[in-house]
Symmetry: C2
């Protein structure tokens, strides 16, 4: 049996994701699809437009069979750790045979070549990386530069520009994680269809980037549903509208701006410095600019430097919001991979799969939250509590209860409940 | 020359305060009146209804000549420290000859007798206090019990019930502070007119408690201005309305409830435990009940125990909100008294007084905020920043600038600006 794994955010699920899903199923000839999905806070340091349950519903509607949550401590991370978390989780599922990811390149061999070179991280690469960082480049930029010069020096004929594109970088890290874990999972990549990740305007007839979709929804006082209709499946539109009408979104950084103000004003720099990813006195920039900023967007623009990218600043902000300290992350030993399999949703087929392989799972399968859960899960619970501060205030307390009591969602074709816990 | 000092909150300034002011002037035959007023957070652990500048205006309209701010680190404190802060500040002003305070008793000798007994704090008193605390009584209740038994055992004929009333307790602490400082200031007390401090309904024709006035203003969707008109001077009403219309109030704990939720959810118990006045694991009660509460009021009701009074819980909440830790307070050595004289407002007479005595002042007179201000003042600035989070969001950033740039307010009879700094 073949089962394909995807590592996703679905923020929100759009036609490009559906295209990728269908291609992944077709190319692998898989019988089922498992996804590892970020929860409430995402890789680029942003809160999700709608909560993880709503996004799980979208995934199930599309035809995904199992939805697992990528723990908070991996989901809001630079590409390397994010990729390692996602791949490690898939690797813990004995039935996953393939990993299929989108890339700008679309050529697995090309990405593999880079991954192999990087796996050894030659001394020349480390030196070039350090040198570029010292010049004041951001980590991603320095990484790109160092890698490009490494590739130019190598015998490979890889296009050095290729590794500057975000999905290629993620893909390379997926491949490196598979190597590191000596995983049985076979990788394959699909060339991303048209829209670029960062593209902000909608240009194609059916495919638009998630960024441009979020922009259409967030930048008007009331979401412009009609503007996104051509680019998302009908169920995405319906679920987004339901969430919006229920007061649970649509969420952006602006929903948390007042909390950032309070936190940055009330906490001394010495405390902020302890937060994860906070480095080199940037806490002082936060404390200075929070006093003059009027929005989260403005704050980021002001705090940003050449060295610290927009995404990096946003990730710092997430950790400030959740009060996630360096020592908290250290204590969780991320190199060991996720400590549990938090099931968010399943189809009938997914349930069968899990029941069949239940005894082979080495990590606890979490379908209901128990008192004695792994400490890593505390961060997902906290992230859910804090995420719900972005909701309409009357809705918030219910959502907190939900995080503790919500059983995994199932598709309508499966009336029986899951017996996994 | 005689100058009478008052220690006040004016939250808001009402007819009872005016009565006290007029009596204080008449009884002492004073030429001028100086007040020490709490800033944004008050003794009972509440945010002020309107900011300190608005309340300074009320005081100046009434006829007060100098308004100094009681620093945050004294204003949100149990009676003993609050009183010590206020009296110490007055004692630093060489021209203050009298301190006049309201009390339920109205008899200075009676209060002096108790203050003298307490000044020595006999062993029997300490033992009784500890015993009562161990029985689970709150500190104020235990203090009252211990004092009552001490008085019964003493030769004095003081009514033991008397010392349970809040203004008598404050008064006793003013007297103790004067003794401790060996102050030249002469105390006198005025029997409080009718309304009790905690009284919630308006019963008298002209005097109502500040509590009942706040209640009338806060417990309807729109403030019930007409309900309070008989009980406050015209300028109080006018200033309150101005602040309300400008989006700077009226403020209650509910304005800060979302920030409490975020702070209590995001911070680990180990961090909350470090906050000032937080003791004996009550941080866990906060963390538990914040998840089910829907308002600040409900939170307090749920966290409250026999031992920890409503006011004590509220003070803890203030320190959680400002992130004021035990070690922060310790570092400021409160037993040395306020470290500066922050001038909020003055009349022509007040300005003359200050200019005449400027050279005799031992503490820095602060009329404008400079970079090299005393560390204790940082807490007033922070309190102002955090207080403004309760404002309409478009008004907030201006108010922050104001705290740093606002010169002391002056009455209209004084066009020249103050040259104190």
């Amino acid at each position: 049996m073949k089962v394909v794994g995807l590592i996703v955010e679905y923020n929100p699920l759009h036609n490009g994701h559906r295209y990728h899903f269908e291609q992944a199923m077709a190319l692998t000839g898989a019988d089922a699809c498992v996804i590892v999905m970020s929860g409430h806070f995402l890789q680029r340091g942003e809160p999700a437009l709608v909560n993880k349950w709503a996004r799980t519903r979208m995934a199930l509607e599309m035809g995904v069979d199992l939805v697992f949550e990528l723990p908070y401590v991996y989901s809001t991370q630079q590409a390397e750790i994010f990729a390692y978390g996602g791949v490690s989780l898939l690797n813990q599922l004995p039935f996953v045979s393939h990993l299929c990811f989108g890339s700008e390149s679309g050529k697995l061999e090309e990405l593999q070549a880079v991954a192999r070179i990087l796996a050894t991280e030659p001394e020349s690469f480390k030196q070039a990386l350090t040198a570029k960082m010292k010049e004041g480049h951001s980590y991603p930029a320095a990484y790109g530069h160092a890698l490009a010069s490494l590739l130019r020096g190598s015998s490979s004929d890889v296009d050095a520009e290729m590794i500057k594109q975000p999905n290629n970088i993620l893909g390379i890290h997926y491949l490196m994680a598979l190597n590191k874990l000596q995983s049985r999972i076979q990788p394959l990549t699909i060339k991303r269809y048209k829209a670029h990740y960062h593209q902000e305007s909608m240009t194609d007839a059916q495919i638009a980037s998630a960024t441009s979709i979020r922009k259409a929804l967030l930048e008007t006082p009331v979401p412009d549903w009609e503007a996104i209709r051509p680019y998302v499946p009908a169920y995405t539109l319906e679920i987004l509208r339901e969430e919006y009408e229920a007061g649970r979104g649509l969420i952006s950084w602006e929903n948390y701006y007042p909390y950032l103000v309070h936190t940055l004003v009330s906490q001394p720099a010495s405390h902020l410095r302890r937060m994860y990813e906070m480095e080199e006195g940037i806490e002082h920039r936060f404390k200075t600019y929070i006093l003059t900023s009027r929005s989260a967007k403005q704050l980021i623009q002001q705090v940003k430097t050449k060295r610290y990218t927009w995404n990096r600043i946003q990730r710092m902000m997430v950790h400030i919001l959740t009060q996630c300290a360096k020592q908290d992350i250290q204590a969780l030993e991320l190199h060991q991979g996720p400590a549990y399999l938090r099931l968010l949703g399943y189809s009938a087929k997914g349930r069968e799969l899990l029941n069949r392989y239940k005894k082979e799972l080495k990590l606890p399968l979490i379908a209901a939250i128990r008192q004695d859960h792994p400490p890593m899960l505390d961060w997902d619970l906290k992230a859910a509590q804090i995420y719900s501060l972005g909701y309409r205030s009357d809705v918030r307390p219910n959502e907190w209860k939900r995080e503790l009591s919500q059983p995994p969602l199932s598709t309508s074709d499966d009336a029986s409940s899951f017996s996994g816990n």
